[in-house]
């Protein structure tokens, strides 16, 4: 049992735990915290896979910005305990089995797919990690247009959010 395995299993456990908590918690803020936990542990897994930059971005943007937004909204609307209504019989009876089936099926397939058999020497550390410089080359040369497109998308999103949230006089 070597270090990467330990790190992996700890983080995986935390991630799954967070996901379950997200489902089971009735207090929205708890769900938010659980999701943050998931994200952080995923970030660690990225480190393990040698994607340092992505890990950092994951924490900064997801945990640091998006989830803060969520927490804010929860505080603002001060969303209380979730009421467990069951108007949708379909969701009540079909949802869980389907979800479970999907989980098991996907997991099984992933475990036995060819690509899955490939092995990664994924350990956090500069030696095997992706050079951020190469990533930036990809981002600003190969994928320059999508990058610009996303930036425009962000701008539009900001405007949209402003317009929506603005108190209409």
């Amino acid at each position: 049992m070597s270090l990467p395995f330990i790190v992996f299993f700890v983080c995986a456990f935390l991630a799954v735990l967070g996901a379950l908590t997200l489902i089971l918690a009735r207090e929205p803020i708890h769900s938010a915290l659980a999701l943050i936990l998931v994200m952080v542990s995923l970030a660690v897994l990225y480190l393990l896979l040698g994607a340092e930059f992505i890990a950092a971005v994951q924490v900064i943007v997801y945990a640091g910005a998006i989830m803060v937004l969520f927490v804010f909204v929860i505080m603002l609307l001060n969303a209380g305990i979730e009421e467990r209504t069951d108007f949708s019989k379909l969701a009540k009876y079909a949802g869980l089995p389907l979800g479970m089936f999907l989980i098991l099926f996907l997991a099984h397939w992933m475990a036995h797919s060819l690509i899955g058999q490939q092995v990664a020497n994924g350990v956090a550390g500069t030696n095997v990690s992706v050079a951020t410089r190469d990533l930036s080359h990809q981002l600003f040369q190969t994928y320059l247009f999508p990058f610009e497109a996303t930036s425009i998308l962000i701008l539009i999103a900001i405007l949209g959010a402003l317009v929506l949230a603005k108190k209409d006089e």
Binding site: A12, A15, L49, L106, Q117, T150
Partner: protein, 102 residues
Amino acid sequence: MSIVPISYYLVLSAILFGLGIVAFVFKRNIITIFMAIELMLNAVNLAFVAFARAHDQLDGLVFVFFVIVVAAAESAVGLAIIITLYQNRQTLNIERINLLKF
């Protein structure tokens, strides 16, 4: 240095994705449903990174980057919508917001 098979990561991402779907179906609070979506996105990102590592290509990481950006935009707008929705309906329970029907 010892190694973790890619399939482990894939299985984990599959599980997280499935849990996200379950949450998506089972939560009643719109905000939480939103979080479920974010969870699914994260699972997909994990798969992306794992594949990128498996093929030693950076494209996967770039994809993750884009996914994150789009997720940011989407959550910004979505939350704004939720706020206005709440101001109009005084509820966050998605089952009580069912005017759009036949």
